[in-house]
Every structure is written in structure tokens, then in C-alpha cells.
């Protein structure tokens, strides 16, 4: 195949060991098929930025030993309970945790989007989130009078990895109203996308679709992964597989159960 559309493993090849990888929150279009492929490939030492939170994706990558540093505002399985591999890894100190708050991650990616070195943000002062972040600074606002404000350095990920409903042959990707996917792509050096399907025609040619389209200009490679967010949902398209997430929560509660989950659902390719 030529152009941006590649096989899943080819598309993921630019995600090197040690890369800073940004991924979206659990409801925005999480590339789960790609995540399983990365685990199968044995990716190591990722600096994962989950914008601004994560669920199954971060938990799986942590449990499979792919993460060195995790930068996010929360990891949880929501109604299915705590994220067990995340909690175990933080308690045992096997990952480096950079605790954040949701708008700080949005703002730090927006700084990269604009090509500026930092963004200011309200809040945070007096919080231990700030206290444990040596990379965040407090200044007196140059436009105020005794007005302390936090500055956040830009986050410039090596790769943004997202899942979306569809793309066209030119590499344009329809993300709909999940605009944070565009912020991620604008901020990252490269963007890898998996999609449920290929759209026949040019997404930018239709004004209704163009407004929700991430232009192919930002996109390095695209792979087709039908229902590639499974077992998470894809907003406005399909819901979560609640039964599977409940099964995951039960199995991942222990290291042995988690290893069995990997054997059954990650290393063994799911039948299409």
C-alpha cells in the first residue's frame, strides 16, 4: 500500500522505545487495538501522557511493563473500579508518576500547538500537585500587582496515537467533536491514527465533514482497525463492552490474573 495508509505494525513502527507518547482520555477514541499491538511488539520505557486521564489503556501498558513515566491527572476504570495495575505500580514504585490536573495537561499541549515555551494557568497554588512538580514554576504576573500564577512548560510529544471513526485516502481523519485529538496532533511531532474504516471521497471536500476533520498534513500514518477502540467505546458510534471491562477488572486485580488476561486477549490476536 502507498500513501499514509499502512498495516497496523508498520504504522506503529515510528513509536520507538523511550518515546513520549500522548494518548486521549477514555471516552475520546482510545486506540486499543494499537495498544495491544504495541504490547505484543514489546515496546519499552514509554513516557505516556494521558490527556488528561486514562482507564484501560494506561493500566494495560503499565501492567505489561511498557511504561517508565506516566503523566496524567487520573487513572481509573470508572464504574468498574480502580485501575489495579496502575495502583500496584505506583505503590511498588515501578513507574515514575507525574501527577497533574486536567487543564494543566490541556494547556501544556496547547503551548506546543502554538509553538510557545509555556502556558500560564490559574489554580494549583497551595496544592501538593504543584509541590511535587519541579518542572512547573510560579511567577508574579507581569501584568498584575502581587498576582502569583503558575507556568507550565510546553509538552511536545514524539508521537500522538489516536483512534477515530474514519479517514480518507489522502490521510485526512474525521474526529468529529473530539477536538482534543486535534490538539494532540498539532502538538506532537508525529501522529499515528487507527480508524474503523476508510471514507470514500475527500473529507475536506464536504464542508459538514471538514469542520470535524484533522487534516492529513498532521498525520504520519493510518491503519485500519475496525472497532479499534474495543473494549472501550467510540463516542457517537459505539459504547463500551461493559462485560469485558468487568472481566478485566476482576482478572487484573492480581498479577497472575493480569498475566492470564494478556495471554488470552493481547498476545492471542482477537478474531476479527
Amino acid at each position: 500500500m502507498s500513501g499514509p495508509i499502512k498495516s497496523l505494525d508498520e504504522a506503529l513502527a515510528c513509536i520507538a522505545d523511550g518515546a513520549m507518547l500522548v494518548v486521549p482520555r477514555e471516552v475520546s477514541g482510545v486506540p486499543m487495538a494499537a495498544t495491544r499491538a504495541l504490547i505484543r511488539r514489546g515496546v519499552k520505557r514509554l513516557h505516556l501522557v494521558a490527556l488528561p486521564t486514562s482507564s484501560l489503556q494506561a493500566d494495560l501498558l503499565i501492567g505489561a511493563g511498557c511504561i517508565d513515566t506516566l503523566e496524567t491527572s487520573a487513572v481509573s476504570l470508572g464504574e468498574f473500579g480502580p485501575a489495579p495495575r496502575f495502583s500496584a505500580a505506583v505503590i511498588s514504585g515501578t513507574i515514575k508518576m507525574k501527577d497533574a490536573t486536567c487543564p494543566a495537561l490541556h494547556a501544556a499541549l496547547q503551548a506546543s500547538e502554538k509553538g510557545v515555551p509555556f502556558m500560564p494557568l490559574r489554580g494549583l497554588i497551595g496544592s501538593d500537585v504543584l509541590k511535587h512538580r519541579d518542572d512547573w514554576k510560579v511567577i508574579d504576573s507581569p501584568f498584575g500587582n502581587d498576582d502569583p500564577i503558575v507556568l507550565l512548560p510546553a509538552i511536545k510529544p514524539d508521537v500522538a496515537l489516536i483512534h477515530a471513526p474514519m479517514a480518507d485516502a489522502q490521510g485526512n481523519v474525521w474526529i468529529g467533536r473530539q477536538r482534543e485529538l486535534a490538539t494532540m496532533a498539532h502538538a506532537a511531532t508525529r501522529t499515528v491514527v487507527t480508524v474503523d474504516k476508510i471514507h470514500d471521497g475527500n473529507l475536506l471536500g464536504d464542508p459538514l465533514l471538514a469542520a470535524g476533520t484533522l487534516p492529513g498534513f498532521y498525520v504520519e500514518s493510518i491503519a485500519i482497525a475496525n472497532r479499534g477502540a474495543w473494549p472501550l467505546g467510540l463516542p457517537d458510534h459505539y459504547g463500551v463492552d461493559a462485560e469485558h471491562l468487568a472481566l478485566y477488572a476482576r482478572m487484573a486485580a492480581t498479577a497472575e490474573g493480569f498475566a492470564e488476561y494478556l495471554d488470552r486477549y493481547v498476545y492471542e490476536r482477537r478474531a476479527a
Partner: protein, 255 residues
């Protein structure tokens, strides 16, 4: 104290109290997995004939944001959100909330999911209502182990928002000048019980009133008008508390 037979559930009492705390405002936002605050916000909207505007996060049908997840925070930063709800693994007597971990941060005993948007929204939303149904010395502590978001700040820190109240399964605390005051005790609970199960010091008057039970009109509105709306977002909660079951297609919206 022996409680009189009640014709309402504790979820209905809490929602009624929260709806009163919301008051007359323009916009209430409710976080994920918060069915009781969501009930309260929808009840306030029914009583106000469409005001306040209610945003239920996690429900695409009940949020207007089209500019990505950051729009919520940008809205709040501009003062376009008047009421929000926060909880905590630990909450202390100064209104500090901990959503991160217990023990030493570097070597935690228990790890919670994380701070989410609290380290920002607690500062910029004028009325933050703390909500923690489990009222125990485990959750209401003298001092939190990690401050996800502080209850108060030095006067020079920009802070138009902060906590106004803490509601639990036993009582309602008000919050002002960095301290909680026991405003009322829910029917079936006592002041002594509240003291016994609260890890922090709080103010109280000699005679603490009982939390007024929801009126028959409120219960009717909640059960007949609010519950069906709630069922679209929280089908399990609506079925369990209100006995409302929607046709399958309506209750399984994606998102």
C-alpha cells in the same frame, strides 16, 4: 434516636439538600459517576423552569462542549460555571481534598485515581459542593495526606471559588472562613454520632437542627419528572432508587 417511618430514600434527601445549596445560578456542571448530584441539578432545573443550565459530564447528550475536553475548564476559568461537585478519598477540616494517595506520596499506602480537574476547578468555580456519602474517620480526617486542592489560599492568590458545603450520609456541614460548621443532621442521625465519626474539629451551635425531609411536592417532582431524565445517563441508579426502567435503546447511549 428512633427514626420515624420514612417515605423517602436517603438519596432523595441528599438530592433535595443539594438542590437547595445550588440556589439560583446560571450553570451547574456535574462530574462523571455522580448520580446524586446529577439528580439534584436536574431537580433544581425543574424547580427553576429551565434555569440553571445543567451539564452532565460523560453524557454527550447533556453537554454542549464542541471544542474538546478543555472547553469545560476554559468555561470555568471565565466564570461560566457557577456550581461544581468534588469528592475525595480524604477531606480535612480546612476543606483540603485528597484524590491522590494516603501515606507518604513517594511510598503510598493506598493510591487513588488522581486529582482530575480539582486543582483548578476548586479555585475558579464559585460554589463547590463537597460530596462524600461515607462519613467516617477514614474519610473525614484531621489533615489530608496529600492536598489535591486546598480549601483556602492566601489572600493574594486569585481564587473566586471554593467550597461552600460538605454533605455526607449523616449530615450537612457549611464552610466559611476555612472551617466547617455543622448546619444540620439528617433524620435518623444524631450530633453525637456525627462527632464520633468525624476526624476533624468543626463548629456547631447548642441546638443543631434536623435536615428538613423532602416535601411531598419535591418527591413527586423527583420521581415523576427528574427520574426519567436521569435514567438516560444513570440507568442503574434510576432503576435502583426510583424504579424507573427505560426501553433498552434509550438507556444504552454511547459515549
Amino acid at each position: 434516636m428512633n427514626a420515624a417511618p420514612r417515605d423517602f430514600r436517603s438519596e432523595e434527601l441528599l438530592a433535595d439538600v443539594i438542590a437547595r445549596l445550588i440556589g439560583d445560578v446560571r450553570h451547574v456542571a456535574v462530574g462523571n459517576a455522580s448520580p446524586i448530584p446529577a439528580t439534584a441539578a436536574l431537580l433544581a432545573r425543574e424547580r427553576g423552569h429551565g434555569r440553571p443550565y445543567v451539564s452532565l459530564l460523560g453524557s454527550p447528550k447533556n453537554t454542549f462542549w464542541t471544542d474538546g475536553a478543555r472547553e469545560l475548564f476554559d468555561c470555568a476559568g471565565q466564570g461560566r460555571i457557577d456550581v461544581f461537585f468534588l469528592s475525595g478519598g480524604q477531606i480535612d477540616g480546612h476543606g483540603n481534598v485528597n484524590l491522590v494517595s494516603t501515606g507518604d506520596y513517594a511510598y503510598p499506602k493506598v493510591r487513588f485515581p488522581g486529582s482530575f480537574g480539582s486543582a483548578y476547578l476548586y479555585y475558579v468555580v464559585p460554589k463547590v459542593i463537597l460530596f462524600r456519602t461515607e462519613h467516617s474517620r477514614r474519610t473525614l480526617v484531621p489533615k489530608v495526606d496529600f492536598i489535591s486542592a486546598p480549601g483556602t489560599n492566601a489572600p493574594n492568590v486569585f481564587r473566586p471559588g471554593g467550597p461552600i458545603a460538605l454533605i455526607t450520609n449523616r449530615c450537612l456541614f457549611g464552610f466559611a472562613q476555612g472551617r466547617f460548621t455543622l448546619d444540620s443532621v439528617h433524620p435518623g442521625h444524631t450530633v453525637d454520632e456525627v462527632i464520633e465519626h468525624t476526624g476533624f474539629e468543626f463548629e456547631r451551635t447548642a441546638a443543631v437542627p434536623q435536615t428538613p425531609p423532602p416535601s411531598p411536592e419535591t418527591l413527586k417532582l423527583m420521581r415523576e419528572v427528574v427520574a426519567p431524565q436521569l435514567a438516560e445517563v444513570y440507568p442503574q441508579f434510576a432503576a435502583q432508587v426510583f424504579g424507573i426502567t427505560l426501553p433498552l435503546s434509550a438507556g444504552t447511549a454511547s459515549g
